[in-house]
């Protein structure tokens, strides 16, 4: 802490100015980084949603195609269509699997909104108040230090 030692202000605050400055800087950095974290989290949710939507779209197209091939096979006389039937079943299962994941992601993102909103409020309101309080204390201590230096 630069060996500055403790200082008492006129309002009775006893603290090390450099220690408080260091903590204030850490708080400001924390707020900026956590805002970025919150924004990136939103991006991650949207990227996963987009990815799952693309996969669902792909498997829907595969299902439609497999169904059309199966229907065409069945329209013919006496052909073995079991391979086409299996393809339809598999595509349907994958599509259903992906849709279940889409639902789980939507639910989890919805549940996350509560703590995310509270934390965003903390970043926007509570933290700036704490930073202002620290700045006021630092200014108070620096003024006291100048008075002490002038008296000695």
């Amino acid at each position: 802490m630069g060996g500055s030692g403790g200082t008492s202000s006129g309002s009775g605050v006893h603290a090390d100015v450099e220690a408080l400055k260091g903590f204030h800087e850490a708080l400001v950095r924390f707020r900026h980084v956590q805002r970025s974290v919150a924004e990136r989290s939103g991006d991650e949710i949207e990227m996963t949603r987009a990815s799952l939507a693309a996969k669902a779209s792909h498997w829907q197209a595969r299902l439609d195609q497999s169904q059309a091939e199966f229907d065409a096979c069945r329209a013919g006389p006496g052909a073995d269509c079991s391979g086409y039937a299996r393809a339809v079943e598999q595509a349907g299962e994958w599509l259903e699997h992906i849709r279940r994941w889409q639902q789980r992601v939507d639910e989890a993102a919805g549940e996350f909104r509560g703590p995310a909103g509270a934390f965003w409020d903390l970043l926007q309101n509570d933290l700036p108040r704490a930073e202002s309080l620290l700045l006021a204390l630092i200014a108070d201590l620096q003024a006291a230090r100048r008075v002490q230096a002038g008296a000695s």
């Binding site: 603290a15 850490a26 950095r29 974290v37 991650e44 799952l52 903390l122």
Partner: protein, 70 residues
Amino acid sequence: MHTRPDRDGEEQLRLLGAAWEEAAQHWRDEVARQFDSGHWTPLVQQSRTYLDALRALMDLLETAERDTEF
């Protein structure tokens, strides 16, 4: 390098905790106690709640991606 946002958030909370420990060693008066109970403790608790929820969500998103790869 791409890192998960929850890990960056955890690291920042760790760094802030270290800065608070350092400041608290040199700041021991009534104002410090009020700051601790009125600002610091709620900040840590809310950050913890948020980062735990974020970690669980990021785990789920990773699993969703992995589990839907054909």
